[in-house]
């Protein structure tokens, strides 16, 4: 006689039910153990460089290149930080980085949302072509764009060493446009039709109906854009000269001198640049994943 294993009626064969349950949980346990045997070493390999970055940031320059490998932190973190601040005005560069990343993220999310919305909502001649061109720009390596962009911004517009030069040129992010377009195109059109029949203006439909529904996607996109701006090295390196306008990654780069490299300072800077991002990502991970996979099922 076969019975559903879930059945736990008082008169049901309790032993059989238990038997099923036990073998199932044993399978699950085995699976978890095997998975961890594989994933834990992988995680360690991943985390090791981060840990060493932290260790090096606490060691004097002389200690970093000593023959023995040291795995526990030393006590020179603040000394290294003070040296870093003295050489690069690092706190100022962090401030520049934060301002640039925040404004860039906000503006870019807004801009890409509007572009994505237009591409979903409006039927116009050449719409497919526009999408194709935007998609095409993704395949262009950044290095192909950066030289003409530099010439335009620095030479023709004379904007080098300005906030505008740091923030505006990378604003139009094709990936972001496609991201938002995808998100809007998955929303039922009837929602917008309904609002239109109710006399809600196009701008209100966008801001009051579409954007609130795109929140998970916008959150994921924000993280991606913020990280991109935060980690951007090449463009700020090209467009800024004065220490006043330098972003943190560029400032760290200056520590690699011709004669002397301040590894302790670089490591402190790297820790300060990495840690906040790691924390943000860990906390927003759930949001982030749900945004990226939104609409993947169904």
């Amino acid at each position: 006689m076969s019975r559903a294993p879930e059945r736990t009626g008082a008169s049901g064969p309790a032993v059989e039910t238990h038997g099923h349950g036990r073998s199932r949980s044993r399978v699950r346990l085995t699976r978890i153990i095997v998975l961890h045997l594989f994933l834990v070493p992988l995680a360690l390999i991943w985390l090791f460089p981060l840990w060493m970055m932290f260790i090096f940031s606490t060691m004097p320059d002389s200690g970093i290149f000593s023959p023995g490998v040291q795995l526990l932190p030393s006590d020179q973190f603040l000394t290294n930080l003070a040296a870093l601040q003295e050489e690069t005005r690092f706190l100022r560069t962090i401030f520049v980085s934060v301002v640039v990343a925040v404004i860039y993220t906000a503006l870019s999310v807004m801009l890409t949302s509007m572009a994505g919305w237009a591409l979903v909502r409006y039927r116009f001649a050449g719409r497919g072509m526009v999408v194709a061109i935007i998609l095409g720009t993704i395949t262009l390596p950044y290095f192909v764009v950066v030289i003409p962009q530099f010439i335009l911004v620095a030479r023709d517009l004379g904007l080098s060493d300005t906030w505008v030069a740091l923030i505006v040129p990378p604003l139009f992010n094709s990936l972001g446009v496609l991201f938002m377009r995808q998100s809007f195109s998955l929303m039922p059109t009837e929602l917008f039709d309904a609002a239109q029949v109710e006399g809600v203006t196009e701008w209100q439909i966008f801001t009051r109906v579409a954007l609130p529904l795109a929140k998970p996607t916008m959150a994921a996109l924000s993280i991606i854009l913020f990280l991109a701006s935060w980690n951007n090295y090449l463009w700020p390196l090209l467009i800024t000269n004065s220490p006043e306008m330098m972003t943190a990654p560029v400032a760290l780069g200056t520590l690699i001198g011709v004669t002397r490299v301040s590894w302790g300072g670089i490591m402190v800077g790297a820790v300060l640049l990495t840690a906040p991002m790691l924390l943000v990502f860990v906390f927003l991970q759930r949001f982030f994943m749900s945004g990226i996979t939104a609409g993947a099922v169904k």
Binding site: P188, E190, D193, A194, V197, E198, G199, V200, T201, R208
Partner: protein
């Protein structure tokens, strides 16, 4: 309140015509239902009235005013969608009031309208819930409420009950009928469910491939279809059709031979002149077969019999293999492989010419 007039209203996407110059007059306060098979253009026609689709030709007037170039919101219509189209991030109350709030309607008036709509639809208890926390029937009620708060001259329903289960559908159907009699406004309702069409409509508009096949009161369409399409579409289960050919005119009509039924002949009340040998289709509704001996008998091999209690539907084949559905209230014992003898009654049979038009 207002009626709706369509004059040669047409719609095409590029070279493809989807609505072919529809003429229709919907009276003030009338309940008109558009029916037709999938892709017949009934939803497109409704969306054209709502202003969600531009028209390619002709004219649409609401309350005597041409609205071809009027924005959807200014046409005095409100629309209820199949998918409810409730804003998922707003509560029921916010859903109901959204349009009014966005249009800067005075707060007190908005409040009053929402309260009234909630009262009419008995959804007061749901006002603070999100759509996610509502059942299908409740969601549809909110969607209707969102239409009511606009005080529209014309309600447009686009298959509003299609997403509901059978029981709820009956219940909501009754509610929509009640709403119509309470509000007394013009309603245009799109459905492919002919039970909804038959029960709700003052008049039914049968559409096929972007053309109006027939317009009339539900029972008129059932009793007196203009063509084979309408005859087959209205009535459930659908009408049976038998191939036949005209033989000769005689007293009381025209004698036709049922081609595949061993050459049995029947005299149908057709006055229209037909050449002998011209093809005719004889239509008989499942509920209109007579007992053997009362008309022209045919023998059927039973395939499946569905016994519903009040009646039985017998799915059978003629000896030539044509499928036939027969309703027999007394056929409770009938099952597969049995033989059923029924009679085609001349006065309950319809005849259609080869091009589908009704032979009278």
């Amino acid at each position: 309140m207002a009626g709706v007039t369509l004059t040669k209203t047409a719609k095409s996407y590029g070279n493809v015509d989807v609505i072919h110059g529809v003429d229709l007059e919907v009276a003030d306060g009338e309940f008109v239902v558009f029916v037709g098979p999938s892709g017949c253009g009934k939803s497109t026609l409704l969306r054209m009235i709502a202003g969600l689709e531009e028209i390619s030709g002709g004219e649409i007037a609401i309350g005597g005013r041409t609205v071809n170039d009027v924005e959807p919101a200014d046409r005095g219509t409100a629309m209820v969608f199949q998918s409810y189209a409730l804003y998922p991030h707003m509560t029921v109350k916010e859903n109901l009031s959204f349009g009014l709030r966005m249009n800067g309607n005075p707060r007190a008036d908005t409040e009053a309208r929402v309260t009234r709509a909630a009262d009419v639809l008995q959804i007061e208890a749901l006002l603070d819930r999100r759509p996610k926390a509502l059942s299908g029937g409740q969601r549809q009620r909110v969607a209707i409420g969102r239409a009511i708060v606009r005080n529209p001259q014309v309600f447009l329903f686009d298959e509003p009950l299609s997403n509901l289960d059978a029981e709820l559908r009956v219940q909501m159907r009754v509610e929509i009928a009640r709403l119509h009699s309470e509000l007394g406004v013009t309603m245009i309702y799109v459905t492919h469910d002919q039970t909804e069409a038959m029960t709700l409509a003052d008049r039914i508009v049968v559409l096929r491939a972007g053309r109006v096949e027939q317009v009339g009161a539900p029972l008129d369409l059932y009793d007196d279809p203009d063509n084979q399409f309408v005859a087959g579409f209205i009535g459930s289960p659908r009408m049976n059709f038998f191939a036949a050919e005209a033989i000769a005119r005689e007293d009381g009509g025209t004698r036709v031979r049922l081609t595949n039924q061993g050459g049995v002949e029947i005299v149908l009340p057709i006055d229209e002149q037909m050449a002998p040998g011209s093809k005719v289709t004889v239509g008989v509704r499942p509920e209109h077969f007579g007992d053997p001996g009362t008309g022209t008998d045919i023998a059927l091999d039973v395939d499946v019999a569905e016994h519903l209690g009040i009646t039985s539907y017998v799915y059978a084949n003629t000896r030539a293999g044509e499928p036939v559905i027969v309703e027999r209230p007394e056929a409770r014992k009938l099952g597969a492989h049995d033989t059923l003898r029924v009679s085609i009654l001349p006065d309950r049979a319809y005849a259609f010419a080869e091009d589908g038009h009704r032979l009278r």
